[in-house]
């Protein structure tokens, strides 16, 4: 069923893709993003403390969560002719090799403005035990000149 602005209502759910995190997936994200921060590469470095925090080993890029949420939003928006306009996120827990993470969203509100129509979406990424690793909010525009894809 094609999503339309009219049919959407608060509480509607969006399911995102499950993503298996491995040392290889983290290394691939380094190469794709050019972010070679040793947080994601260097086990020896990660044995140390970061202020009061000890991660105990390499962690996934927080922005990998961001990329997955963005993928969920665009894959949901494109068929409806809608446009991903904003994403705000913060990280709640580190993600490690061996974790499986999955983003999801819940429609929070709809807004009609002078020139367009907007949908606010609460987003979350959870790990395999159901813990939240990232939270945020997305904004999707449903232009009146719908151009469905």
């Amino acid at each position: 069923m094609t999503t339309t602005f009219e049919k959407l209502k608060a509480g509607d759910a969006i399911d995102g893709p499950a993503f298996a995190v491995s040392r290889e997936s983290i290394r691939l994200f380094c190469d794709a993003s050019l972010d070679y921060n040793p947080l994601h590469l260097d086990d020896e470095y990660m044995k140390g403390n970061f202020g009061k925090t000890n991660f105990g080993g390499i962690i996934m890029h927080g922005m990998n969560n961001f990329g997955l949420i963005s993928r969920m939003i665009t894959d949901w928006a494109y068929p409806a002719g809608a446009i991903h306009r904003r994403l705000e996120t913060r990280w709640v827990k580190p993600v490690r090799p061996g974790d499986t993470i999955q983003p999801s969203g819940i429609i929070k509100a709809k807004q009609v403005t002078e020139k367009s129509r907007w949908v606010l979406i609460d987003v979350v990424v959870k790990n395999q035990t159901g813990e939240k690793v990232a939270t945020g909010e997305a904004l999707v525009e449903f232009p009146r000149d719908l151009f469905c894809q």
Partner: protein, 158 residues
């Protein structure tokens, strides 16, 4: 991947050239470099997060869409942040921890775009013994159109 080969992947190298929290001046522009976004770079980024939508890969399909041709995923700014900044940029300091961000999207980036960045630290503060810097960034294409703008919080290494 010519771009990736030219890129210094050892973030410890040149670490002494990068500004520490004390030296970062809110409001002062960061040095940036223009970057030509390639189809290969977009495809590698897509692979890393599992993007499979044909609008990023299939020219014939992309021509039938609102965008009239191939585009990059909105989150391509994750790559642009590093490809548009030099090796001594403080965002590369080992131990920099991303604490959150918001990004707004205007026109999509496309393969072949020559992308420029205007960026600065906007604020810095101390909270619970941690050193924070707020950075703000706007990416433009070669026509001067805004691709996206974003603001982020990082915790600086101590």
């Amino acid at each position: 991947m010519a771009e990736a080969q030219a890129f210094e992947t050892d973030f410890w190298k040149d670490a002494n050239l990068r500004k520490v929290w004390d030296e970062i001046v809110p409001g002062e522009p960061r040095k940036t470099i223009p970057y030509t976004l390639t189809k290969d770079a977009i495809e590698l980024y897509c692979k890393s997060v599992g993007e499979t939508h044909p609008i990023y890969f299939d020219e014939a399909y992309a021509r039938t869409t609102r965008y009239g041709g191939l585009i990059a995923p909105p989150s391509i700014h994750i790559l642009l942040m590093f490809s548009c900044t030099p090796a001594d940029d403080w965002m590369r300091s080992p131990g920099t921890v991303n604490a959150g961000q918001s990004w707004s999207y205007h026109v999509p980036a496309r393969p072949g775009d020559v992308i420029t960045l205007q960026a600065r630290a906007l604020d810095k503060f101390i909270k619970r013994e941690r050193l924070f810097v707020v950075h703000d960034n706007v990416f433009f294409n070669q026509k001067g159109d805004v691709i996206c703008s974003g603001r982020g919080w990082t915790i600086r290494p101590m």
